[in-house]
Assembly symmetry: C2
Homo-oligomer: 343 residues x 2
Amino acid sequence: MKVMPKTPFDHGENGLRVESESDLVQTYLAPLAAGMPGAFGLRDDAAVLPNEPGSDLVFSSDPIVAGVHFFADDQPPDTAWKALAVNVSDVAAKGAKPVAYILNLALPEAPKRTWMADFARGLAEAQAAFGCRLIGGDTDRTPGPLSIGITMIASLPSGTFVPRHAAKPGDHVFVTGTIGDAALGLALRRDSSLFDAALTDADRNFLLGRYLRPQPRIALAESLRAHARAALDISDGLLKDLARLAEPGGMALRFDAVPLSTATRAALSADRRLIDKILGGGGDYELLVAVAPSEASAFQESAQRAAVEVYDLGILEGSKVVVLDASGTELELPKSGYDHFSR
Amino acid sequence: MKVMPKTPFDHGENGLRVESESDLVQTYLAPLAAGMPGAFGLRDDAAVLPNEPGSDLVFSSDPIVAGVHFFADDQPPDTAWKALAVNVSDVAAKGAKPVAYILNLALPEAPKRTWMADFARGLAEAQAAFGCRLIGGDTDRTPGPLSIGITMIASLPSGTFVPRHAAKPGDHVFVTGTIGDAALGLALRRDSSLFDAALTDADRNFLLGRYLRPQPRIALAESLRAHARAALDISDGLLKDLARLAEPGGMALRFDAVPLSTATRAALSADRRLIDKILGGGGDYELLVAVAPSEASAFQESAQRAAVEVYDLGILEGSKVVVLDASGTELELPKSGYDHFSR
């Protein structure tokens, strides 16, 4: 078992620290821009992307901050992966293909070389998996916690952007993958003794992995562009994001239609109250997709060809999202989903 | 005289606070995205920019953080202006025209409505002045200080990007505007009693304004594209940025060729040691431009037509940047320019 560092910057027993901004950028980040001529080896103040005729560009920008979106003592490659993955997920939900990203790294102090090397390795793995490259950005020292700001630049054929707010009553709602795993993984990350009797070691590792290394659904982009009316990724919990997709309408969601992993089923069997966490916890980065009835089977077939599992959650109807149990009775659930400024 | 608030969030005597992320975004930020269909009223997770045939897109991203790049008790409209201006300056130096920007606002607590309204007003003024609009972004609560991250998206005719590293020995180096004002403005912002005998109130206000409200040189974009070999903006001090432009070469800079404002001349007359601050202090956001000898007079004429004052600082030669006094003797100057991670 690896010993967790006390802070991101304690990582490595006796590591040297980076010596300057240009040391940090040129040694660890510039290699991530290889193959992008418009990045100028990260030696310019700006970057350029050549025009790709027939393509529109799509942008998303979600920073992650230590203590808010990840743990300061997460392994650096996991933190790097997550920073990129959450942004790739946003553009994947729009049917777009990642092209390049801008990195704003705010560090509380000059990082150790071992930490920077591990962090850059995580970025390298993630950008290889997602098909994009670093094109520019900025490094700063901050009096606050470690913050990793990524702006994702993606492309899609002109006019094919899949919006969030275009679903209609009667549309089918599909979801990819399984729901709730990341919320349980987060609970395990906080307290590894949770669900002790219910889960195997393999279950635990699966749930932790779902929390630490979200897998954005880039393989579904073409199916979305061809068949979806609206889509978004599940970052703030199924119920909150389903309400956004359905807005201004709603849906009666049968809990037994929600796809659950073996591990999450096992935890839920041991404690039925986990239903709140499963439906309200964020971080799965699966996709919610509204599809017109006439396109539903074509969408499912297209997703199957793309090797992405999709599940039909039901039909948009009514004016709010409610959850029903197997007998059709409405479940009472606490207000769910995360808001940074609500009291 | 206005009473300065103790923190950005004390601004307003008895103000209410924003109630939620959607309140903050929809009430104060969505109006800044009016006229950008691809911003979807800031109600999507991503934004889209339609392809503009014949244009490349240029990106820059420089966050500003309270306590590092601005004072936590600066007036909110000034902070907003600076956040946008420093990024516009980066793309202006490349010959590009601002189009849109992404805003990542990290707030230590739910801001008061008066603060948000003032901040949004500053953004509105700045985006009107610079010709760009808000297209997307993110708001977060942070355990750290207020941080404003802007990613600027600009455009230029395909293939006309003006790089930082392409100057050649023998090129003329031009600078816009006047140098050192922002560094003296910063000194005055810290201690308003400085240079007491030397400066008039008008001088003080001028220098403070140069620090608080930098004016990016967007009017020079066409002249740069047509005539410049290389360019960058002066964010980290004239000497440091001149060394970057000249790299791997150098230049013998005569101090009496450096354009100074009346206010800065007056302060310098009272204290010759200010020469360090003038040449080494950042924040002027003027441009340094390398122009081939054959293009020098055409560049000057083009800049004049654009109503931007440019001054010839000399010729690139040698292997390092040195500063000479009026008699041609080399001046000894301390190591200058800002680096976040150097010791």
